[in-house]
């Protein structure tokens, strides 16, 4: 009975307009959860039946959960044991050869896939500026990477932050990423956004951890910037990363996350309280907003705060 179907379709389409206001997300979610009383449910259903936009929303809200891919355990065939034993032997021999000390305090945890090959510029370390801040040092292996077309080596010396007091074994070298896009200016603009078009992307994941991606967001790795930190705000300005969160924790990296400094935001006896809710970077000024309603500003990259 195709003709009858067409009559219905045409008539429904011609009448597809509703003069009633759209239900708010509260009502729509309550409708999807069968939580509305009969009369209210009928009123919402009437609007939705006349409103293609709300039907689309309801359909999205009712969509099935997508299973999130988890690492699979692989059952290896028995003959691989011999290969593993041989590889272990080779590794022992390799490890017995003396070599330079590797960087310690590795803080990057590969999550989904190893990062692509690293192309970095080795630049002489500048002397750190006199420090006036209380900082707690964390260092990491300079793993961050991008393919050559994502990151360019810059022959100029790396901009060393006045906050950084490099005391880690990795201090004798540093790499630099060249930002190729306008800096992100605030949390809302930067969370989950691209720091540079096809380059490094930063985010905060569902577990309040800092995340970094070198492949346009396909795979992410955790970046451990501070022990026990629950991050809520992030700002990215090229290789400069600031992150803040619960308990007023505020960390900074001037080298795309290879090294982190913890910054204590204080002005004399007064120090920041609450969680850092947003970080704004603008023309050398750092602005923080906290969950307790405080505003903190630094005009010198975080050395002094008001």
């Amino acid at each position: 009975m195709p003709e009858f179907d067409e009559v219905l379709r045409s008539t429904l389409k011609s009448k597809a307009a509703s003069n009633t206001p759209h239900p708010d997300p509260d009502l729509l979610s309550a409708f999807a959860e069968q939580a509305l009383k009969k009369e209210e449910r009928a009123a919402v259903a009437m609007h939705i039946s006349l409103c293609a936009e709300c039907r689309e929303l309801l359909s999205l809200v009712s969509a099935e959960r997508v299973p999130i891919a988890m690492p699979q355990h692989v059952r290896w065939p028995a003959w691989t044991a011999a290969g593993v034993a041989m590889a272990a032997g080779c590794a022992l021999v390799y490890l017995s050869i003396p070599r330079s000390k590797p960087p310690s305090n590795a803080v990057l945890v590969a999550r989904n896939a190893p990062p692509p090959a690293l192309e970095v510029a080795i630049a002489p370390e500048k002397q750190p500026a006199p420090r006036k801040l209380k900082t707690a040092k964390r260092a990491s292996t300079p793993v961050p990477a991008a393919t050559p077309n994502e990151m360019q080596a810059d022959p100029s010396p790396a901009p060393t932050s006045a906050l950084v007091n490099r005391a880690s074994p990795a201090q004798d070298r540093e790499f630099q990423m060249v930002p190729s896009a306008p800096a992100m200016k605030s949390f809302q603009q930067t969370v989950g956004a691209k720091a540079a078009a096809p380059s490094v992307r930063w985010s905060i994941d569902a577990f309040a951890e800092l995340q970094r991606s070198f492949d346009g967001g396909r795979t992410w790795e955790s970046v451990h910037a501070a022990d026990g930190a629950a991050f809520r705000a992030l700002a990215v300005d090229g290789a400069q990363i600031w992150a803040g969160g619960s308990g007023g924790i505020f960390v900074h990296s001037s080298d795309s996350g290879a090294h982190w400094d913890r910054i204590v935001v204080a002005d004399g006896d007064r120090s920041l309280t609450g969680a850092i809710a947003s970080i704004t970077v603008s023309a050398g000024h750092l602005d923080l907003a906290t969950s307790s309603g405080e505003r903190w500003t630094s005009a010198d990259g975080g050395m002094h705060w008001k």
Binding site: L12, A32, A206
Partner: protein, 288 residues
């Protein structure tokens, strides 16, 4: 004065507010009874329920207290929210966007909106009618639709030219052969219960599957199938009856329902005007 724990509650509020306040756990987030009562009063003013007591009893007060306390920057509330709901944002976004990158961005953007960062948190608009998780998913869906629309607006004219958009002919609906068929069909559809009409619109207009419609309505697919058959049969019967009432004999009426509807000519401009009468609520600014 009523007493809830060590808190005094003014008598001017309904007695059920005290029970709801206890049940909500608002006190542990530092949300005072007067603030909580004011929230409940604002919800009553927003929804104007016929039976306020039943309305209040059906509110998700635990979620409501949590959301509104987060909006008021309670660290205790935020810790609970981060533990209970933040891990759900990405899976919820993924169920909507079906793309990991977009889902991550949706989840992150929503979290930023929820936190506020100096502005009014979006959690301030949560009213507790459904679960907080369901509300978060609905807001994510809105953001996703907005994102799609923005993306479409950003399609360059060159791309449109390549796609042949400028040469697209005016789409016109075919006219019904008999002018009496349209009012008869209108009347038949208007008499339908709202949910039946929703099923018809989803099936015939949106071309959704029975499974999708079932999920929208929270029923089994077979129920939708049965209801669709029943609705279609009853609408057909009502149209035939309407045609007979308009002077069409039974045989002609049957023929009309089998006529070539490609000749149906509807005023496309008028229909578009009708469709734009109500602005989407997510385009109206702050959520109610």
């Amino acid at each position: 004065m009523m007493m809830v724990g060590a808190v005094d509650m003014p008598d001017r509020f309904p007695h059920c507010f005290a029970d709801l306040y206890r049940k909500s756990g608002a006190q542990k987030f530092g949300l005072a009874f007067e603030e909580f009562a004011a929230i409940l009063e604002s919800l009553r003013a927003r929804y104007l329920p016929a039976d306020p007591k039943e309305f209040f009893q059906n509110l998700r007060v635990e979620d409501l207290a949590l959301a509104r306390s987060c909006a008021r920057a309670s660290d205790t509330a935020w810790n609970v929210f981060v533990e209970r709901f933040r891990p759900k944002l990405y899976p919820l976004a993924l169920s909507i966007a079906r793309d990991e990158t977009i889902a991550r961005e949706l989840a992150d953007c929503l979290y930023a909106d929820l936190f506020g960062g100096g502005r009014v948190s979006r959690l301030e608009s949560y009213g507790g009618r459904g679960s907080l998780e369901g509300w978060l998913k609905t807001v994510l869906a809105q953001q996703y639709v907005d994102r799609l629309r923005t993306g479409r607006n950003l399609v360059s004219f060159d791309e449109q030219v390549e796609a042949g958009v400028q040469f697209a002919g005016r789409s016109e609906e075919p006219a019904l052969m008999d002018a009496r068929l349209e009012p008869a069909t209108d009347a038949a559809l208007a008499a339908l219960p709202a949910e039946d009409r929703l099923i018809l619109a989803s099936y015939y207009l949106d071309r959704r599957t029975l499974a999708e419609i079932a999920r929208m309505l929270g029923v089994h697919e077979s129920t939708v199938s049965r209801r669709l058959d029943k609705i279609t049969a009853s609408v057909r019967k009502a149209i035939l009856k309407g045609l007979r009432e308009r002077g069409v004999n039974a045989r002609e009426a049957e023929q009309l329902l089998h006529s070539d509807v490609r000749e149906l000519n509807l005023d496309v401009a008028a229909r578009l005007t009708q469709e734009s009468i109500s602005q989407p609520f997510y385009r109206k600014g702050p959520l109610r």
